[in-house]
Assembly symmetry: none
Homo-oligomer: 212 residues x 4
């Protein structure tokens, strides 16, 4: 890590990859997510990844200039999905329609999290020690929060929207984190219902569902 290529240029960002190469790269990316999920980012060794991808150390460095480089790639992929997700959330109104919209959106979030959770979780680990990836992760989360804030700012007037949205993102992310870690069981649909209800009520409190 410390001995990474200055600035970690990706070996394959330059040249074109043939089909086989692409497949190998994909395999490495996917394998790493699996391993992150099991052992966490810090504890994951390049060796674990190449074993899971059934390839070799040499090959790894054919596609990524370092472990961080691979993780950066992963982060970008996840960031993209999160961006799409953010756009999918329309304005959340205080009425039943708003609740339903929120519920639907949480369903989408949940699906994304299932795939990307390990990476998102790793951002936290990474951020703390000032890695570039950590910064990117924090940015993604901040953007996410901001977007959510925008969607609620219009309707919530007695709460600080910045605080509120961060709190909700915190809740949603961490809840899923726990859930993924197996600390929660229960029917997924119902859990999402509850989560949506809490979030919606948290935002609009007293007036929620109250028809004017």
């Amino acid at each position: 890590m410390a001995r990474a290529n200055e600035a970690g240029s990706a070996p394959t960002r330059d040249r074109e990859l043939r089909a086989r190469g692409k497949r190998t790269m994909r395999r490495l990316l996917d394998a790493s997510v699996t391993v992150f999920a099991r052992k966490g980012f810090h504890a994951t060794r390049v060796d674990d990844i190449v074993k899971a991808a059934r390839t070799s150390h040499g090959t790894f460095y054919l596609y990524f200039s370092s472990k961080d480089d691979l993780f950066r790639e992963l982060t970008e992929e996840v960031a993209e999905q999160m961006a799409t997700l953010v756009e999918a959330l329309g304005p959340v109104s205080p009425d039943e329609a708003g609740l339903a919209a929120l519920r639907t959106w949480l369903g989408q979030f949940s699906e994304v999290y299932e795939r990307c959770g390990p990476v998102i979780g790793a951002w936290t680990e990474a951020e703390i020690d000032g890695t570039e990836v950590g910064r990117i992760g924090a940015d993604v989360l901040a953007g996410f929060t901001l977007a959510l804030g925008r969607q609620i700012a219009s309707s919530v007037d007695d709460l600080d929207p910045a605080v509120a949205s961060m709190a909700l993102v915190a809740m949603i992310e961490r809840y899923h984190y726990y859930a993924l870690g197996g600390m929660v069981e229960g029917d997924r649909g119902q859990v999402l219902d509850t989560l949506a209800a809490i979030t919606h009520a948290g935002l609009f409190g007293a007036r929620a569902g109250v028809p004017a």
Copy 2:
């Protein structure tokens, strides 16, 4: 070979410590929290800790059999404080009084988190790779959630209390995590007000504050 200490039993569990020894141990414990806060658990080197505590490697191993061992100690201390905290939360009623109680309690939580955040945050890191400490941390959090669940179960009837309390713990913990990491600014008092409002509203939704 010489790697004797099976699984890191604390070297001081056996013998009594004199005043000086106690002070040194304390210094190491405190220093480690500082460093964890700055670099995270995994990235922290024993070397960082002993430097911060202005002592030597040898001394470190006089009091702890490993970094993990020290962390276990820290975890126990934090667990204790969390337990006290849990007891401090009385039943949360749907009315203004309940909101106020929640607000006060969040203030206490906040203070504890300020001191213990780095340790709590590290539980997440540790849990993932099946360390004993990770398990303990998860247990503490689970207990915390359970207790909160009990305090709200009586008043909330249209939510799954297990999901609800976990969601709230997730929110509260993570929000503080972000806050400690400097991702949030703003007046602490106001932030806590907002957090309390959201939490309370999230729990009691429509009926909150409504004088029946």
Copy 3:
């Protein structure tokens, strides 16, 4: 923490080795015997071994999970040779033929000891602190003794064969140990003659060489 390898499983037990790998492993094994001979097992540093094998620490741990692991490997190799040696000893009769057979066999033993002495000697060191290797070494020696016992039991009737064979193994082993350590000089052939004579006489005493 990272100290993963439970009890030192050999890193190469799993994967196949190519020619180069095999050569390197052999080099390490051979180098270690040389160093053990010079400094003894306990006093030998991994550093000494890798220097003697002209390779690096990293490489060492590519093939062995620890010094103990390497030693275990060595022990197995030696045990095999000892087993072959044991089989090479036919029944030892009280007459001249028996003496000659014993003498020949001692010559073989001597050769094996020249190569394996340092390992055999180290068993003693290792046994004392209950290491697995120590146990194996003790077992090999015990087996050796037993086999010798069987070969003499038939002809010796006024001695406890268990005690007698152990005494002889003790003598033969330790004598060679001293000899290897340079505490003895003299023509090798003659020394072996003497040793054979003593051993034979020790076993058959009064009746030795007496034509019925």
Copy 4:
């Protein structure tokens, strides 16, 4: 060890010791033999010794300038006993009287070995890495062998007495070593009988017990 006082002057060789001091020193000496017996010389830590002697590190260095220094002391004590033992062995004649004398003497040896075995065993460990103590130990053993050689040289004419005596010392020492390690069981008296018989027969072979 490496950082030992140049030449390791014994802190108490100069000054007189009061009764209490003498007792403490004795306790350390005795404790160390116990520990050596259990763990071997190399594996024994100063910490083990002081714990067994129920005293402290500081105290240890009040009486010995290093671990080696203590061991040197021990070696001297044992060397003295061995010297006495050597003198106790008169000429060993080829007849029954010689056998009886040998048997008696082995009994004495056995007793000494019971007390001193761990130290004697450690000489072997120590010798190999050129420690001063190792040299002393080797000398003692050599002297022992020489003396035995003198006692048999007169009567044995068809064997090289140097080789013969070394072989016998090797056997006797090692046999006791094994025996102490629990690798042998059986009635002590009978074992000594057998050992004496073998030794005597080994020396005098055909003519043993033959009334000229």
